[in-house]
Subunit: 207 residues, 2 copies
């Protein structure tokens, strides 16, 4: 399958959520117009996004909801579970491992690491914080699919280098830095300060 | 000033960070190539992004660092402070109000709300959790610039309607729903499950 744009993948994730809502309401079919209305986009956009994966549904009848859900889950790689490790046992790291939404969607938090001796050995929602010195050994024994990096900015690149060297090929980065990784590694950076700055920019242009 | 794309605003935020690093290292000028290398983009992209705001710097000499920092801060609306309220005193709400990076950049968390009587009245890092029933009265007395919505999915739209009605024109939404708001209101949605799903999609295409 050819590589599709990040923005399309994000819309597919949203469509999946909307379809799950429709299914919970007992709907057997969903039109592109209904998906578009729910997601603040256009029917044409919905049809274009779904056309990446061959033809779904029939004109005028809408998409069969359970079938489209199954195909979107397969496309998004949600038919398996992912082993996720978290490096950095601070507030955001803690919020991450406690968030139930992840487990429901197939992401299992397998280990939590920190460098602070005061945190190592403590239990956080069922996970005992491990010394980050054990990272390589642990990953060798139990490979992880995704590493969430929730360290201070100055530590993030070093952690990224270590997990990549140990075979992790997807990183969710919360540190306010641009990580440098090999092309084969996928990185998503969540930078809350950046999000706030796009809002303050918007406030300025509205004023 | 004409409205610029969200993706450009995000890159400007990043350039600002990189320039602050350069300034901390004592650099007086920065080339577009240096900014591009730091941010994983191209010199042409940097020059294009900065050209939105008139001509900066001189060919061959690079951009004067302190001047460019000042202009980027002005463009991003960072020369003032913003009053931010948080609705939802859960793990993520708590992580938000405790994150120092926000205050450094001009975002002051002014109030934290919850609907749970067990949380109302408790102190969280200097803020006493207020009953969300007081939202309108509080906003009338002390208008806020930005509302962060960190409630469960089913409560988010109701909270958005209430803060918008009370004059808030920018929302940072952490609930896994697409909020419907008037055009004049800016919304940024941070959906961590979506971010993980773009990673699992990437893992699937790499495999």
């Amino acid at each position: 399958m050819r590589k599709i744009a990040d923005s399309t993948v994000r819309r597919l994730s949203l469509y999946l959520r909307f379809l799950e809502e429709f299914e919970a309401h007992g709907d057997a079919t969903a039109s592109s117009a209904a998906l578009a209305a729910r997601g603040g986009t256009t029917s044409a956009q919905v049809r274009k996004d779904l056309s990446f994966f061959g033809s779904f549904g029939k004109r005028g009848l809408g998409y069969p909801v359970p079938d489209l859900i199954a195909r979107l889950r397969a496309i998004l790689g949600l038919n398996r579970r992912y082993r996720v490790i978290v490096v950095g046992a601070g507030k955001i790291g803690s919020a991450l491992v406690q968030y139930h939404g992840f487990q429901e969607r197939g992401y299992d938090f397998a280990a939590l690491y920190d460098i602070d001796p005061k945190k190592v050995g403590k239990e956080w929602t069922g996970l005992v914080v491990r010394d980050v010195a054990h990272l390589e050994r642990d990953l060798h024994r139990h490979p992880a699919d995704i590493a969430a990096i929730v360290t201070p900015a100055e530590a993030a690149q070093g952690v990224a280098d270590r997990v990549v060297k140990s075979g992790v090929s997807a990183i969710l980065n919360f540190a306010p830095v641009q990580l440098v990784v090999p092309d084969a590694v996928a990185v998503k950076t969540v930078n809350l300060v950046l999000e706030l700055e796009t809002l303050s920019y918007a406030l300025g242009t509205h004023a």
